[in-house]
Amino acid sequence: MRACILHRDDVLKIVDLLRQQGYEVVAPFFGRGRDTRFDNVTDENRGQIQIHLPNPYHPPKRFVMLQIERLFNIQQNNGQIQIEPTYREPKRAIFGIRSCDIAGIWHLDRFFLGREFRDIYYEKRRKNLFLVNVVCTDPERDIGEECFCVCADTGPAARDHFDLQLMDLGDGEFMVVAGTPAGEAMFTDPIFRKGTDAHIAKRRAVLDVARKSFKPSTTSWFSAAVRYVSQGKVAEKTWEEIGNRCLECGGCSYVCPACTCFTVSDRRVGPDEVERVRMWDACALGGFTRMAGGHNPRKAVHDRRNRRFFRKLSHYFIQRELSMACVGCGRCAAVCHGDIGMPSVVEMIRRAAAETEKT
């Protein structure tokens, strides 16, 4: 791994360099209201790219795990069938991806590329992906109310799994760390200067301040919640309370950088032509486990909520993928109308545990 120093005015030149190398670059922008979003960089909007801003609700996951993806095009003519796999694998760079979302993509890597079967659609796209991580250092603009990457151990500075990592040292300078040979190859450009020991000390100091800028939220109980869920020590009553607050909208899965579930469906696109597509799915939705004949093993909504948190927090699954399916981004807390995002659920588990221990 190597590090360089970059002047603030040159930061967006990384975007230019990537575009010159043929990458489609996506980067964070302010939306029309108070929202923020990842969008394709064009000559027109390039100047509006933001370095410090609240992390967009809609995670950059959708650039590797497409929300709707065509798997095959199928032609059916005169009794003959032809199946053509359709791959979308643009050379793409995500500029400004936060450390939590880097951990999210790492989780997707572990899940889709690991074990007996690999997901070739994901793999092809992932191979062409270049990640420029920006460390959240600005307490006002970067760090949100619900962020808990410090507890999930994914941030504020990702330790790995990026190509380049940028950290604002203040004073108009950024430290750039290369995480891969592809990232390091960028350093041949003269905008990257050699750093000094003083820069390294500064980096440490900035990170220290950033770490302390997070709310000392209830999620510091996160690892205890992992233990309680893993050991099945969360009472049925607590799951019911959590389930009662679920509106079954599936929003938590849609904004989660680490949710992987999808469903598959065929759609007719012409008289002799069918497409097989897959799209994001969510375990909150009632039909998720419904079987032919109408039998649904997970009928009660609390069974399904239990499922989500078990899948995300239990040791069993953390070991299975060697990565956790919760990255501490706090988005589920921000979108949930029933207030059962991860931080609230951890708090409910903590309170229930405190009560049982009292009695």
């Binding site: 095959f72 069938i81 796999p85 079967f117 690999r118 070739i120 579930c261 598959v264 486990t289």
Partner: protein, 282 residues
């Protein structure tokens, strides 16, 4: 390297329907083969208890057990119409094409059972996945000790794989016991739920060094488990297959999870001991 690592795991291969045989009401057996003989040869290495994903393009894809034994020449599915995909398969005629991928799942570890007594308990269409193991065990008859089959159906009209039933009834080296819940005028055999066969005069279920295969509807499953436990079976000696809504069959879509297991890759075969440790009701 595992070929699965480089292949498109979701890509089904073209299959041709050869013939269709009626089994019982709403259930038919579909004999098929892959268009590409190399594909057929590769597929034929499946294990009893595995399943395949069946594609009817424009409608969708569904999981189906493999009732044939790998020791048999033909490949086929036995399918009940319940919804859109199964109905689309039932609408096909010999010569029509569809698509299949697989085999998937763990299957029964038949080699691990060498030297043991095998007890098969099937209720209704639970005989579909068990047929494969029974034929396989009979084809390797010298590897196993006793082989007993207990099969129960709702009525005489609901008995499937009639030709096999005749063979097993007459066959040497296999003890075959049949029952129906409700008899009709022609029925001369035993009447009662499948578990009642264990108490039939002359029946002696081996327990000590035995594996019991149990497949059937949820109610039957619960009662048979109790009966077997009463006979002295440990939960680790009882094996079954679980069924879940499945979309991918390869451990990625998340639909088939029960507790800690992805049924499509960790199952569908589990011992009753494992089933109880999944951490979620089945």
């Amino acid at each position: 390297m595992n070929p699965a690592a480089t292949e498109n795991a979701y890509l089904p291969k073209i299959a041709v329907l050869d013939r269709v045989v009626d089994e019982i009401a709403e259930v038919k057996t579909f004999y098929w083969r892959f268009e590409d003989p190399a594909e057929q040869a590769a597929f034929k290495k499946f294990r009893p208890g595995q399943f395949a994903q069946v594609s009817l393009f424009g409608t969708g894809e569904f999981p189906a057990s493999l009732p044939p034994s790998p020791t048999e020449a033909e490949t086929f599915f036995t399918i009940r119409t319940v919804g859109s995909c199964t109905a689309a398969l039932h609408a096909l005629k010999p010569g029509d094409k569809f698509a299949v991928r697989g085999p998937y799942g763990n299957g029964f570890p038949m080699e691990d059972y060498y030297g043991k007594d095998l007890v098969f308990v099937a209720g209704g269409i639970g005989l579909i996945p068990l047929r494969s193991c029974i034929i396989y065990a009979l084809a390797h008859r010298d590897k196993y000790k006793k082989i007993q089959i207990y099969y129960g159906a709702k009525s005489p009209k609901d008995l499937m794989y009639l030709q096999n039933l005749h063979e097993w009834e007459k066959g040497a080296g296999v003890e075959f016991n049949l029952t129906v819940d409700r008899a009709d005028a022609t029925w001369k055999g035993h009447v009662g739920v499948v578990g009642s066969l264990f108490k039939k005069p002359g029946v002696q279920v081996p327990v000590e060094n035995t594996v019991a295969f149990v497949c059937g509807p949820p109610v039957m499953f619960r009662f048979v488990i109790k009966d077997l436990q009463a006979l002295g079976f440990h939960d680790g000696q009882i094996v079954s297959t679980l069924e879940r809504y499945m979309k991918c069959g390869v451990g990625k879509c998340g639909h088939c999870c029960i507790g800690v297991a992805y049924v499509c890759v960790d199952g569908p075969v589990f011992t009753y001991e494992q089933i109880q440790k999944l951490g979620e009701d089945i």
